[in-house]
Amino acid sequence: MSVIYLLISVSICVAIGFFIAFIIAVKSGQYDDDYTPSVRMLFDDETKITSQNNNSPTEEKQV
């Protein structure tokens, strides 16, 4: 039954992974604007191609 050590450790590690992802998302400002992205995703594909460079908010934060 000692597999439970492994199982729980893995599950905690996965949870911590998601937690870190959440912190990074908050830090990069993804939660500052919770409206615009919902509209942006509805634009036609034609728009997406031209504004591809829009999807790098984390990169621009290094500024």
């Binding site: 949870a15 937690f19 908050v26 509209v39 728009t47 504004s51």
Partner: protein, 793 residues
């Protein structure tokens, strides 16, 4: 789409002025040009997302010349390195998905823009561009030419990178992470199973729970310890003391239990408590990011102004560099940033920003002009008398009320209750301890800690945030935007309401125009309307809109004399419309000259005048009569008392009317009322009310358009909802009642929990049930009640 509305901006088009282009109808050349720009660049899908989303571009000749000035430019830009520049522009017109689409595709309109990103709630666009290919000025001109004129004010001058405080989000995230995992891990313990393998792994589970509880205990809950510490230091017992006490005691007792192998401890209850309380905090802080409640004159004033140097060359200078004796050039629609003396012959100055008065004031050469006015019409020159910070209007901000940060002017209801709650709680805990110590020291210790744990007023602490948070949202939907939840409590305490007159209880949207004099024949009305059509003066525009629609006739001769009136000839008839001196009407009493009116003279015969009266807001009378039953009402005005009679006739008898008040006097007036122990609510609109709004217990600013700027205040009310002010006051009273009711409810839970605690029977499982149960019932109770009360008219 309606045949008669503009394809671009959606305004209805007067019959004879339709511009047909590309099978579409436009109301003006401006709108047509914008459409042309889009169709040339293959961007007409702008019109697909929303019907007629556009705005008519305004003429901005020379308005943004200051963006050529390197010093100013570097202040406005958010980031600049090498060729890459980033700027964040505030664009008030952003209102729909079409706007987002267009502004994020700016790179198709202008070379050099590499990307642009819209933040819709803040009405901002962040543009990254190559400063070698394109200048900020040309971007601003491009935006203006397509109807998205950015708003650049003195406020931009001091923006560095604004730091966003995300601590609460982090804390909540940590708390939720710990809460979820601990709940899963403590599940086996709830069933007290005697299975062999569970017993075997118990230390592992408990160890994990302990480790997971640490971040929540140390980081997420840290705000409560700090607040409790401060409140003890200032000897103001607040709700955070029993909370912090409960959390700490819970942690110590649980660690002890675990170490001594007495049981699993209360870690699950602890983390859930922290999580729920932080959630309540989050819910309460509803912010309207597109509104600002902290505005001072800086948001109104331009960043730069045109100075005329001694060698007659013109130059844009930051307005902080403007010195006494400088000569400034003020263009049409530009704001006068400093006090000065008018050098040009005539100026029409619109002080609606400051006073709320819509009708512009005429100044002659040599007159003093005050900062805050907007020049309408021709370009004027002026000489500076005071620098920006010493001007008449801006001096108001040196008053101490703007200097100190008053974060809490009063005690909240929760704190008032916890003043009694905390001592009683400690009393019970010690009484229980004192009783059991003679029987069993071990139980005594358990009872003591159990009392503190179970009485931890989480439900009590949750009622206020959830009630206020919900009321805040309800009011926001009805266009009353509150700065924070504290305002609701203060609203409920208000006993005196002070109204500003101009722009607050009057509307500057429409004017009440009354004709006085010899009756005008229809033929003459046609003449007047046609003459007015050519004039740009605000008074003539108002009168033009007021007169009924007539046929159009050609004007033979037209002359507009600034500050006087219009002189026109039609079919050999000479028509004069303007001030009383202009039409040379000598038989006027002086008292009548004070009124705003347009006089009409046709050929040599004086006919009469159109009087412009203040138009009071709809429902003012009923609002005042309802309010006067429960509140004292006063009206403050910066104007002369010409309207006194009119006001007295429509307002309740005991309303106090005070006229000729300067901004500082308004502030003093409020201060005096407060000295007499009154809770004052100030309702105002212009910059001249800013002092009074800041001084009052609750300052409400009335705004015709909430996206446009209003002075610093506690709440912003949409002008159309003005007549429902009594409803909002009533709602705030009711929310206090809801909180009191739920306090009783949560105290009942505490009594139940305490009865378990003092008898020494508080098992972790019982605690784990009572705490979430009380939380959930309380939260649903307050949400239901506040929605119910909000629907009551």
């Amino acid at each position: 789409m309606n045949e008669q509305s503009c394809f671009h901006c959606g305004l209805s088009i007067p019959k004879n002025e339709v511009i047909n282009f590309d099978k579409r109808k436009f109301c003006c050349v401006g709108c047509k040009t914008v459409y042309e720009i889009f169709s040339l660049n293959d961007m007409t899908s702008y019109y697909d997302f929303e019907k007629s989303p556009g705005a008519t571009p305004q003429d901005i000749q020379g308005k943004y010349d200051f963006l050529d000035n390197e010093a100013i430019l570097s202040k406005v830009l958010e980031f600049q390195e090498g060729k890459t520049s980033i700027v964040s522009l505030n664009i008030p017109h952003i209102h729909c998905s079409s706007c987002i689409w267009l502004l994020e595709n700016l790179n198709r309109l202008q070379k050099g823009i590499s990307m642009s990103q819209v933040n819709f709630p803040e009405k901002k666009v962040r543009i990254t561009f190559n400063s070698e290919t394109v200048s900020l000025k040309s971007i601003v001109y491009l935006l203006s030419s397509i109807g998205y004129e950015p708003y650049i004010s003195l406020e931009n001058y001091e923006t560095g990178k604004t730091k966003v405080d995300r601590t609460l989000t982090y804390k909540l995230g940590v708390a939720f992470f710990c809460f979820g995992n601990i709940m899963l891990l403590s599940f086996p313990e709830y069933f007290e199973m005697k299975e062999f393998w569970l017993d075997n792994y118990r230390p592992f589970f408990r160890g994990l729970i302990f480790v997971l509880a640490l971040p929540s205990f140390l980081y997420s809950a840290s705000g409560y310890y700090l607040s409790a510490y401060h409140s003890i230091k200032t000897r103001m017992l607040n709700i955070d003391i029993p909370i912090a006490l409960g959390i700490i005691v819970m942690f110590i007792r649980s660690s002890y239990d675990m170490l001594m192998d007495h049981g699993p401890g209360f870690f699950d209850s602890l983390v859930s408590l922290v999580f729920f309380m932080l959630l309540g905090k989050m819910f309460q802080t509803k912010t309207y990011s597109f509104l600002s409640f902290e505005r001072d004159f800086k948001s109104y004033f331009p960043i730069a102004v045109t100075r005329i140097n001694s060698n007659t060359s013109e130059e844009s200078v930051p307005i902080y560099d403007v010195l006494k004796g400088d000569r400034l050039l003020i263009r049409n629609q530009e704001l006068i940033p400093v006090d000065g003396i008018l050098i040009s012959e005539k100026a029409e100055i619109d002080y609606s920003f400051v006073t709320g008065e819509a009708v512009p004031i005429t100044k002659k050469s040599g007159d003093k002009v005050f900062a805050g006015g907007k020049q309408i019409g021709k370009v004027i020159e002026m000489e500076v008398l005071h620098s920006v910070s010493q001007s008449y209007l801006t001096q108001l901000w040196s008053n101490e009320i703007f200097q100190k940060k008053v974060d809490q002017k009063h005690k909240t209801l929760t704190d008032a209750i916890s003043r009694y709650f905390t001592p009683i709680l400690l009393l019970i805990a010690f009484a229980g301890f004192g009783y059991w110590i003679f029987i069993d020291a071990n139980i005594a210790f358990n009872v003591f800690t159990a009392v503190l744990i179970v009485a931890c007023p989480c439900a009590l602490a949750l009622t206020a945030p959830f009630t206020f948070g919900n009321i805040l949202r309800i009011m926001g939907k009805q266009k009353m935007y509150l700065k924070n939840a504290l305002v609701i409590e203060q609203l409920a305490k208000v006993d005196t309401i002070v109204f500003d007159k101009t722009g607050t209880i009057t509307t500057n949207k429409k004017s009440n125009i009354v004709y006085e004099g010899n009756p005008l024949s229809d033929e003459y009305n046609v003449l007047i309307k046609n003459v007015l059509r050519a004039s740009n003066h605000p008074l003539s525009r108002m009168l033009y809109d007021f007169l009924p629609e007539f046929r159009k006739i050609k004007i033979d001769d037209f002359q507009e004399i600034t500050g006087k009136g219009i002189l026109a000839t039609i079919d050999g008839k000479e028509i004069k419309i303007g001030s009383s001196t202009f039409v040379e009407n000598s038989n006027l009493k002086t008292s009548e000259i004070e009124r705003t009116s347009l006089h009409v003279k046709i050929d040599t015969i004086y006919y009469g005048r159109f009087n412009f009266q203040n138009q009071y807001r709809d429902g003012l009378e009923t609002l005042f009569s309802t309010l006067s039953k429960s509140h004292r009402i006063k009206v403050l005005s910066g104007d002369n008392d010409g309207e006194r009679g009119n006001l007295e006739s429509i307002l309740p008898k005991d309303t106090e009317l005070i006229f000729n008040q300067k901004p500082e006097q308004k502030l003093e007036f409020i201060k005096n009322l407060q000295k007499n122990g009154l809770n004052v609510m100030m309702v105002g609109d212009g910059l001249n009310d800013a002092g009074a709004l800041a001084q009052s217990n609750v300052g409400i600013s009335i705004s015709e358009n909430v996206n446009v700027f209003s002075p610093a205040c506690d709440a912003i009310l949409d002008a159309n909802e003005f007549s429902r002010l009594d409803y909002f006051l009533k709602l705030s009273h009711k929310s206090i009642r809801i909180i009191k009711m739920s306090f009783v409810l949560s105290l009942l839970y505490n009594v139940v929990g305490l009865s378990f605690a003092v008898t020494g029977n508080l098992l972790p499982l019982v605690a784990a049930i009572i705490m979430p149960l009380s939380t959930i019932t309380i939260v649903s109770f307050v949400i239901l009640m506040s929605n119910f009360y909000a629907n009551q008219k």
